[in-house]
């Protein structure tokens, strides 16, 4: 198994894609720290991982605060003796209530960049000196195909995810001589709590979508835009992360891999 005896931290690991990543890494032998703000959901994932036979630990983390990600890294090393993999997955679609606003406010822009961009920067800054000193580390950042090209409607999110890809490249360059790989996964259409809120937002702000449930809007989007004709899953993203975080991908760094059924080519 790729991650026997290894330790991973997954930010936003309590729900959605983060949970899928955490479970996938655990299945491949990793101990996993669930770094999240939502303690109840995180503890469920911790229990699920432990039932599968590896260790897991919840660390209450706010990725927008450097002190908090410092603490997260310290806790992981203290609990499990080492930290091999950091998955920066935590993300938001806007400030609370963004699904009801047709035009994003300055608070929406700020919240999106605080979590989706500075969250990656904070956690990476917290772990980089440890990984460099050890001469080993894998960082995988979760962006989105929304970050691959601007689109009207959800510019806040798309811009933050484009920034996430760029930030990944910057750290990939910086850490490459030190045995640390930094890569990005760009998920396509995945039915998660975040997409549910995007669906709500479209339903309340977009005429063509009014009267449809978020799930119906999601399914219509899948049918219209995915060449492979099916939605992607959190497991798909977990497996791509597992590949990029493994030694099988030892010579891959600075790349962003779309897991999107062919929606966007790269």
């Amino acid at each position: 198994m790729d991650f026997e005896g290894k330790t991973a931290v997954v930010t936003g690991g309590a729900r959605g894609i983060g949970r899928g990543i955490a479970l996938e890494l655990a299945q491949r032998g990793s101990n996993v720290v669930i770094a999240d703000m939502d303690g109840d959901a995180a503890r469920d994932v911790v229990a699920e991982i432990k039932a599968g036979g590896t260790q897991s630990y919840f660390c209450e983390t706010d990725v927008t605060q450097q002190w908090s990600t410092d603490d997260m890294v310290e806790v992981a090393i203290e609990e499990f003796g080492q930290l091999d993999v950091l998955v920066n997955n935590a993300g938001v679609g806007g400030a609370p209530g963004f699904t009801t606003r047709k035009v994003p406010t300055v608070e929406d822009w700020q919240a999106t960049f605080d979590v989706n961009v500075f969250g990656i920067v904070n956690a990476t800054q917290s772990v980089e000196s440890y990984m460099v000193e050890r001469g080993y580390g894998k960082i995988v950042n979760i962006a989105s195909i929304a970050g691959r090209g601007g689109r009207p409607g959800f510019a806040t999110y798309g811009a933050s995810k484009a920034a996430a890809i760029n930030v990944s490249q910057a750290w990939a360059y910086k850490l490459a001589p030190h045995g640390v790989n930094v890569n990005t996964v760009c998920p396509g259409l995945i039915w998660t709590p975040l997409w549910e809120s995007i669906g709500e937002w479209r339903s309340s702000t977009d005429q063509q979508s009014s009267g449809l449930t978020p799930r119906q809007i999601f399914q219509r989007t899948v049918a219209e835009s995915v060449p492979l004709g099916r939605e992607q899953t959190v497991e798909d993203v977990g497996k791509a992360v597992a590949f990029l975080a493994s030694d099988r991908a030892r010579s891959i760094t600075g790349q962003a891999l779309n897991v999107d059924g062919g929606i966007r080519q790269n």
């Binding site: 899953t233 798909d236 099988r248 991908a249 010579s251 760094t253 962003a256 891999l257 062919g262």
Partner: protein, 258 residues
């Protein structure tokens, strides 16, 4: 089925897929080397066959598809790896000739299309299949030297994208891998060429040119290996990548970041 599977990157891919349990058809123009690799595959997974194939010859490709079915059953995975960097003697010329352009396009692009075409029916019929095309980081950006090779590899990426869209509805994924700097017989020739036509490399032997390229251009500061490429092929053909298609992934130590 691996084209150019007898030596170099293709051989590493064949052995890796065998290691994961696959039977492997080795298609190569070099029969003796193909037999040798097939024997290695048999030692690992138990089953292999060879077919002498010039990918520029449509009839030979049709024979290959038929031989694959007869010897090993329908192909689940197709790895288009065969490639050249020019026509005979290209490495000692300072400029690309028309023959260099024709030969790289014949093998790298049209040959890939030929092989894909003859394997399509097997895959569409079963509504499953994985195709992995070997491009190159040379196809990601123009370069002052070896324009014919770079252009052919850019065409490979484009061909990958078109094929991915064409075959998606049959549950067939098509992806490309762009290897970075690998010390192969082809790179030995590239080094020769650079030492001739680039003042920065004057007087160097090919390996010195290679090492200085790594030092200057590869953020990870090391060369890539056939094994690196084979591991990525194994990922793309596995169930883990079932929802990834139309992508080109650089395995290049960070040379180009996309």
């Amino acid at each position: 089925m691996v084209t150019g599977g007898a030596t170099g990157i293709g051989r590493a891919i064949a052995l890796k897929l065998a290691d994961k349990g696959a039977s492997v058809m080795i298609a190569d123009i070099n029969e003796e080397a193909a037999e040798k690799t097939a024997a290695e595959v048999r030692d690992i997974s138990g089953n292999s066959a060879t077919f002498v194939t010039d990918v520029t010859n449509v009839a030979a490709c049709e024979g290959l598809a038929q031989a694959t079915i007869e010897n090993l059953g329908s192909a689940d995975f197709l790895v288009n790896n065969a490639g050249v960097a020019g026509s005979a003697g290209w490495q000692s010329r300072s400029h690309s000739t028309e023959e260099d352009w024709k030969q790289t396009y014949q093998v790298n692009v049209i040959g890939m299309s030929n092989v894909t075409s003859v394997f399509k029916p097997q895959m569409t019929k079963r509504r499953s299949g994985r195709i992995v095309n070997l491009a190159s980081i040379a196809g990601r950006e123009g370069r002052p030297s070896l324009a014919h090779y770079s252009a052919s590899k850019a065409a490979v990426i484009s061909l990958t994208q078109s094929t991915a869209l064409e075959l998606a509805r049959f549950n067939i994924t098509v992806n490309a891998i762009c290897p970075g700097l690998l010390w192969t017989p082809m790179w030995e020739q590239v080094g020769d060429r650079y030492a001739h036509d680039n003042p920065a490399f004057k007087g160097m032997n090919p390996r010195e040119v290679f090492d200085s390229m790594i030092a200057e251009r590869i953020p990870m500061q090391k060369e890539q290996t056939p094994e690196d490429i084979a591991d990525t092929v194994a990922f793309f053909v596995s169930d883990d990548a079932k929802n990834i298609t139309g992508q080109a992934l650089n395995v290049d130590g960070g040379f180009f970041m996309r």
